[in-house]
Amino acid sequence: MAFKKKFFQGFAFSIFYLFSFLVFALVFAILGVLLYKGIPAMSWEFITKAPEDGMTKGGIFPAIVGTLALIAGASLVAFPIGILAGIFMNEYTYDNWVRKFIRMITNNLAGIPSIVFGLFGMSLFVNTLEFGVSLLAGSLTLGILVLPIVIRTTEESLKFIPLDFRLTSYALGATKWQTIQKVVLPAAFPNIITGLILSISRISGETAPIMFTVAAYFLPKINLAWNEQVMALPYHLYVVSTSGIDPESTSRIAFGTALVLTLIVLILNLLANWIRKSMSK
C-alpha cells in the first residue's frame, strides 16, 4: 500500500518535472534558433537601410520606423483614456453592479481576437470615418486593442494604495481629484508604468489589426504623416516569409526581422518585469 502510494506519486511528479523542463527548454530553443539564424543577418545596413531587390536584400529601416510611429500613435490613444478609465473603475465606482459590468465588458474586450479589431478598424476608421489606410486608422485600432491592458493594470495598481492615504488627504481638506492627482497616482505610478510598457510590447508585435488599417507592403520612402501608410515589422515579417521569391535570401532577412521584432518585444517585457520587481521590494 505504502509502496503503491509512493510509486504513483513518483510517477506523477516525474511527469510534472519532465513537462516543466520541456516547456523551459522550448522557450530557450525558440530564442536560440532566433539568435542563431537571425544574427548572421544583423548588420548596420540591415538596421538602417530600406529593403532592396524585391525584399531579398537591404534592411528593414522603414519597418522599424513605422513600428515606432505606431507605438507612439497607439500610446497617445490608449494611455490617457486607459488611465482615466482605470481611475474611474477604482475611485469613482463603488463595488456594485456598475463596476462589475464594466469589468466584465473590459475583460471581454481583452478577449476579442485581434483580427476582429482589424475588421472593426477597417470598417469604422478606414471606411466610415474616411481616414483611409493610414497611420491614424492603425494607431486608433491598436490603441483600442491595448486599452483593456492599460485599464486593468491602472485599476490593479490603484487598488494597491491603502484607503488611509486617501482619507489622510481628505482630512487635510483636499478634494477628491486633488487626492487622486497628488497622492494616489504618484504612489501607483511605478505599477501603472509596467502596464504601459506591456501594452507597448503588444502594440509592436500585433499583425492582424494593422494589415487592413495601416500596413504597407513595400514603402521604402519614410513619410510619417497621419494620413500615410507605413511599413511595420510584424507585417514585414509576414510579407517576406510568405512572398518567397528567393527562399535563400528571404529566409536570412525573415530571421533577421523576426529577431529584431522579438528583441524589441522581449526587452520591453523584461523591463516591465524588472520595474515591477524592483518596486515591490
Binding site: I81, A85, G111, I112, F120, T175, G205, F212, Y238, N269
Partner: protein, 407 residues
C-alpha cells in the same frame, strides 16, 4: 480659504473626462458589434451572384429556382439537360460574353455594342434551353433577370463550399472554415492542456522558490513572443519537421497549426491554472495531510478538484486564444477550405489532422485585402468575423462566469 469657482470648474471638467473614459469600454464593444454586423448583414439581402451580373432564361423555361452549386455544375457541364433540374427535357445551352463574337457580326452589334442587348434578347427568345450570363449593363429590354434566392443564414453557416469569387454564382458556405477553426483549436487544447496543467501543478505545488523565480518569467517570455514570429518559426521549422516525421506530402496541415497554437496558448493555461490552484485554502491541504495523504494524493484529490472551475475557465480562455489567433495559423495550416472529413472517398479512416485546413481568422486575413469594399465577398468576410466574435465572446463569458462563481 474657499476653493475658487475656476478651481471647481477645472475639477468638474477632469472628472467628467474620467467618467467618459470609464464608460468608453462599453461604447467600444458596442461599436465593434455594430460595425461588424453593419458591414456583414447586407450579405443576406444579396443573391449569390458575382457583382453586376445577370442570369437570364428563356421565358418558357419553367425553372423557378437555381442553387449556386447547380449553376456551377451547369457551367462545368456536369449538368447538360434541364430535366436533371426538374425542368423540361431540353438540352442546356450556355450563352455568355465569349459566345458573342461567334454568333454575331460586328455590324450587327454596332460600333459601340449599342445593339448587343437586343441581340442577346433575340437569342434568348429563340433558344428555349438557354441560360445566359451577362453584365447587367447589357440586360436586354423585355427580358427579366432570373432571380436567385437570397443567401440565407442556413446556406451561409451550413454550406460546404467556399468559392467566394467563382463565376457566375459564388458559393459562400463557411462550414468547412468553422470546422477548420474548431479542429485546429481542439488539437491545440489536446496538446496544451495536459502539458499546461503539469507545469501549473509543478509551479504551484512542487517548484522550489528559486526554480519558480526562473520558470515563471520564462513562461511570461513565451507569452510575449509575437504570433507572427511563431508563424514564421512554424513555417520554417515545424512544417518541414511534420512532413518528415509523419511522412506526409506537405507539412502545412491542421497538425502543424495545432502544435503551434498549443504552444501559443500554453502561457494562458499555465498562468490561470496556477492562480486557481494557488487559491486553494491552506486549511484544506493541511486537513488532507493530517489524514495521512501524501503530496500527490493531496494534489489530485484536494487541490485539483478545488481549482476545477478555474482550470476549466483557463482552458476556455486558452481555446479562445487559439481560435482567435491569426498570424500563426495562416502560415502553417495550408489554407485549404475543405471539410476535414474523417473518412476518405473509399470509406477508410483518414486522420483529419494530416489534412490542410483553413481557419476563420486565416480566411479573413488572406482574403479581405482582395475583396472589393461593400461587395458580397467583403460582406461574407465580415459575417465570418461576426461568427468569430460570437464564438469567442461566449467562451469569454462562460470563463468569466466560472471565475465569478468561485469568488
Amino acid at each position: 480659504m474657499k476653493k475658487s469657482f475656476l478651481f471647481k470648474l477645472k475639477e468638474g471638467f477632469i472628472e467628467s473626462l474620467v467618467f467618459i473614459s470609464g464608460n468608453l469600454a462599453i461604447l467600444i464593444v458596442f461599436l465593434i458589434v455594430f460595425f461588424l454586423f453593419k458591414e456583414g448583414i447586407g450579405l443576406f439581402n444579396q443573391q449569390p451572384l458575382e457583382e453586376g451580373t445577370a442570369i437570364m432564361l428563356n421565358p418558357t423555361n419553367p425553372i423557378k429556382e437555381l442553387k449556386p452549386e447547380e449553376i456551377k455544375q451547369i457551367f462545368e457541364k456536369e449538368i447538360r439537360n434541364w430535366k436533371d433540374l426538374g425542368g423540361k427535357d431540353e438540352p442546356i445551352v450556355l450563352f455568355t460574353l465569349s459566345d458573342v463574337d461567334r454568333l454575331f457580326t460586328l455590324e450587327e452589334l454596332g460600333s459601340s455594342f449599342e445593339y448587343l442587348p437586343s441581340k442577346i434578347g433575340e437569342y434568348i427568345m429563340n433558344n428555349p434551353g438557354v441560360i445566359a450570363v451577362f453584365p447587367e449593363k447589357y440586360l436586354p429590354p423585355k427580358i427579366k433577370k432570373f432571380h436567385m434566392k437570397n443567401i440565407s443564414l442556413k446556406d451561409f453557416v451550413g454550406g460546404k463550399e467556399w468559392h467566394p469569387t467563382a463565376t457566375p454564382a459564388v458559393q459562400l458556405g463557411v462550414l468547412p472554415i468553422i470546422l477548420g477553426s474548431l479542429l485546429v483549436s481542439l488539437g491545440a487544447i489536446l496538446f496544451s492542456l495536459p502539458i499546461g496543467l503539469a507545469v501549473a501543478v509543478y509551479l504551484s505545488e512542487l517548484a522550489p522558490k528559486n526554480v519558480h523565480q526562473v520558470l515563471k518569467p520564462t513562461i511570461e517570455l513565451l507569452a510575449g513572443i509575437p504570433s507572427v514570429v511563431f508563424g514564421y518559426l512554424g513555417l520554417a521549422l515545424l512544417v518541414p519537421f511534420v512532413a518528415d516525421f509523419f511522412d506526409l506530402p506537405v507539412g502545412e496541415t491542421a497538425l502543424s497549426g495545432s502544435i503551434l497554437l498549443g504552444i501559443i496558448s500554453l502561457p494562458t493555461i499555465i498562468t490561470l491554472s496556477e492562480d486557481a490552484m494557488k487559491s486553494t485554502p491552506s486549511e484544506l491541504k493541511e486537513a488532507s495531510y493530517a489524514l495521512g495523504a501524501n503530496k500527490w494524493q493531496t494534489i489530485s484529490r484536494v487541490i485539483i478538484p478545488y481549482a476545477k472551475s478555474g482550470i476549466i475557465s483557463a482552458s476556455l480562455l486558452g481555446i479562445g486564444r487559439a481560435i482567435g489567433e491569426t498570424m500563426a495559423v495562416i502560415m502553417v495550416t495550408g489554407n485549404a477550405a475543405v471539410i476535414p472529413y474523417l473518412l476518405d472517398y473509399e470509406g477508410h479512416f483518414k486522420n483529419p489532422f494530416y489534412a490542410s485546413v483553413r481557419t476563420i481568422t486565416a480566411t479573413i486575413a488572406s482574403e479581405l485585402g482582395e475583396a472589393p469594399q461593400g461587395g458580397i465577398h467583403y460582406q461574407a468576410l465580415f459575417m465570418l468575423g461576426c461568427i468569430l466574435f460570437i464564438i469567442t465572446f461566449i467562451m469569454n463569458l462562460i470563463a468569466e462566469g466560472l471565475n465569478l462563481k468561485k469568488r
